[in-house]
Amino acid sequence: MIVSHEWLKQFVPHALSAEQVGELLSRHCVTLDGIERVGADLSAFVIAQVVEAARHPNSDHLWVTKVDDGSGTLLDVVCGAPNVVAGHKYPFARTGTVMPGGLKIEKRKIRGETSNGMLCSPRELGLGQDHDGIMTLDTTAAPGTPFLDVLSVADARLDLDVLPNRPDLLSHRGVAREIAALTGVAVRAWPETDLPSVPAAASVHYGSSSVTASGVTIRVDDASNCPRYAAAIVRGVTVGPSPAWLVKRLESIGQRSINNVVDATNYVLHGVGQPVHAFDLASLTHASIVVRPTSEGETLTTLDGVARRIATGTTVICDGDKPVALAGVMGGQNSEVTASTTDILLEVAHFDPRFVRRVRRQVGLSTDASYRFERGVDAAALESIAVFGAALIAHVAGGTVGELLVVGTEAPHTSPIAVRPARVARLLGAAIATDDIAHRLQSIGCEVQVAGEALAVRAPSWRHDLLLEVDFIEEVARLVGFDALPDELRAFRPGNAPDNPVHLAGTRVRNALVALGLAETRPMPFTATGDAHTPRVRNPLADDEPYLRASLLDTLARRAEYNLARMQGNVRLFEVGNAFVGGSGRLPREEVRVAALVMGARRPPHFTEPQPPAFDIWDAKAIAEVMVASVFPGEASTLVPGDDTVVWTIECGTRGRIGHVARVSLDRPAWASDACGIELTIAIMSSDDVASAGTHAHGAITHLVRPPAASAGIRAKALPVTPAAEFDLALIVPDGTLASTVESTLRAAGGDLLERVTLFDEFRGAGVAAGHRSLAWRLTFRHPERTLKEKEIEGRRARLLDTLDKELGIRPRAS
């Protein structure tokens, strides 16, 4: 919302700068997004009086003058203007002043005569194209007075971030009311400089659903969408250009002048916040306005030249015959004010905000008018605004103000709300005197009465947001200023809600993966592909990725491709995020997952290893183990063999299948290596209602419960005091037999004294038959109390080989 600093001052004649107004509003009312200067900065210029003017000795068009700039000494100034006259006052640039064009005025000699400054023309000041002479000022101001104090030419636009709860701030008068409340300067109903007086309407005619006066009829058939409709008649206008002051007002907020009548309606909109529309009365069939339900197949060409079909089942503004305006949005060309218009019907209506919102959506056209109607206008001000608007039209376009016709019921008066000073103190944390509360609320237009311990407060008609006691408390708080409340940390009780375990698991796994050298990423969770069951955004802004992803690893694969396209082959990415699986419920099943993708060099190149090996599926297996250990600490898990793509599925106790390790297929260039990935479900995020609306599910209050630490099950063993005995077994294992099977056989047959079994070699080739491999284990035995004898070790080796042969048909490799 743009407001003009100068226009505001016409409503509330305060003495603040635009910056001070912006600061005041930001602290107490509405955020200032910025200030834009209109016109050049003329703050350095002063009024100067020419005391003497004499012809320049060496020029026939220059003057040598003595100038009083209020400094106490007369300055010699050379001037080339034909209209310089001793005794007159002019805008003056002292030496050192920078002109709007960027030129710095310095002391210099002009044809031998010294000049200490410059008397200025309007063009030199950026005030128009006039350069025929310097700018004569008709003023009593003393020399040395700032130029801007005499001629208010500069303005500033304040860009205010008006939020939906404060439609009353969408006009200059509305903002002026706030400045008035904050400064104590009284606010005016309208700027008397712009409109010196408002004559009363010739006559006022009321009707509950229709009214006719002097041949003009207003009828409202649909009071729910249009509770009140006022029409003011102005006869005998001359449509033409607007006076300069009106053009300037509209230009000051970036609006273009159209003609005097339309400009007057825009003045009303931006001045007092009520959208009004001027119809050419002669173009209205039967001189009537009928607000009625739409019929099938109606169309209207709006003022922007677009022919629009009017939706059925809603309400439209018509004359005695056809639609003439889209209510609250835009008027029609068929009743537009033109150069030949002489009589005006000025519409000042109150439309239901939801109705205007529907119309605006149907036609897909948002206007300054619809924006205000949707947020709510001051229904109680319709009549006074109608009279003001008609008077303004007559003031700028001639003619006389005629009848005022009003149909509908008066806006219901709001009932008073009890505001308890004790509640104010409790909510704000600081007591505010009852008098002060009353005074603050009165300053924004509330009616306040003392009612026992409380105040009975009635909101002004333009404040639709003041409905509850707490709304009035907010008004008090912001008017006093949040910054005025103490900045004082007070005692608090710790909360009952424990840390969400999913968050803790996510933090653990993030840190574990960072330690493995992976980089966390946060890609967009949308995807291009899905089926009928895939959760899908109904109204995507871009159609290319409407589905919610069911897999994080897929997202990472696309991100890896993004990197490959940028010649980055070393990709180690992970993400903790949500996957969405179509379910039978109302909402998709949401799973919090962690996924990682690795490809490229396993380590950075080093001079000892110029070409490090690439990541392979064994690295992915290790990452999977780290993930499981950090997400489910202390829980046993297994990696169950899968197929060629999903190499392992991850199973974890009673949780069942929780993830997988996979070769990731990518669209990759020849130079890139294979990609491997891991995806693991941390938890299902319930989206069930916690309790039905308006109720809670509080159980008995328990103390904050923390899950047992991962290390809770560890029992430290005493260090061994006896030496270990070791031997290696190299075995020929036929393909199809798993190393883990052999290992468990070894452990079972090894007896109590077998301490450790380590697979340390896999070999295929010379000496090993095709379809076989040699696997070598190191076995470590230890007796807790004594040294094992050579014979005991040998016995164990023989027994193990015997068992392996009998149970698995596996024999040692011939050495």
Binding site: L468, D487, L489, G495, V514, G517, L541, A542, V571
Partner: protein
Amino acid sequence: MLLSEYLAHADALAAESRALLDGLDPATRLDVAKGQLNALKDERLAALQGELRALAPEDRRSAGGAFNALKVAIQESLDAFAARQIAASGGTFFDHSMPARRGWHGTLHPVTIVIDEICDIFRELGFTIALGPEAETEHYNFGALNFPPDHPAMELHDTLYLGEDTLLRTHTSPVQVRTLQQYAPPVRVLAPGQVYRRDFFDATHAPAFMQLEGLAVDEGISFVDLKATLAEFARRFYGASRRVRFGPSYFPFVEPGAQMDVEVDLNDGKGLRWVEILGCGMVHPNVLHAAGLDSERYTGWAFGMGPARIAMSRYNIHDIRLLYDSDVRFLEQFAR
């Protein structure tokens, strides 16, 4: 100085340098040896260079030659020492400057770094972490948060819908209602999480981004608690000397609604200025009612902030897409 004197000085310095290095134990570290040599020669070498100008013009050529020869001689002495050192250590040269055998450096995402830091500070102030689903009902996202149906306030949240009345949450505030329904006051939680808006993915907008919400509800909680806690957060996060101010704002689920600005330097050369850091306010009575709480007995405050925006200003990121495109060259800049 006479030429003969100059030459004598140069010879003497060459000889003394040689003697010094030859006299050192070969186990002496090279940098220690160089240090001793520099202490002997630096000042005298500089003086000899300066003297060149003072010599008679006809002598300068031969003196200059001697000066260069001196420098060569010193370097040769040093080379000889290094060779003796290598020989003494078994014939191999150990170059300590070669790089370490490093692993890859992993990193958290910059937005995570910021969230963790914010959470750490609020943990110090007594908050725990709460989470909620990203796919939500209109009730939890809007209705229970006092959004009037069919109101322009909804337009502040351009929404991605999944079904008739289901959507991707537009803020983390549904977690407020869920938490208040789940746990009896006192409640003091932070809710970080992904939220969604119907925005194009461009330099300043992303359709999915992180938000961080806080909520404190108990008997006797006031705006002063809100103000003091958030101001304390700002001082711990941005620095104790940072100025903080509060101004009015509007969110349907708080009343009074406010925003907190902090005077920060955005590293753009424009110095300190006020920047809106978060929106906040006292929990609206209707929100407490929707969660089954008595608003006369309980009061509370809440805030919400965008850690991605903070990461962008802190790390000088000008295009929001960098945060989400997952380019490893971007992410690896945050490895430490």
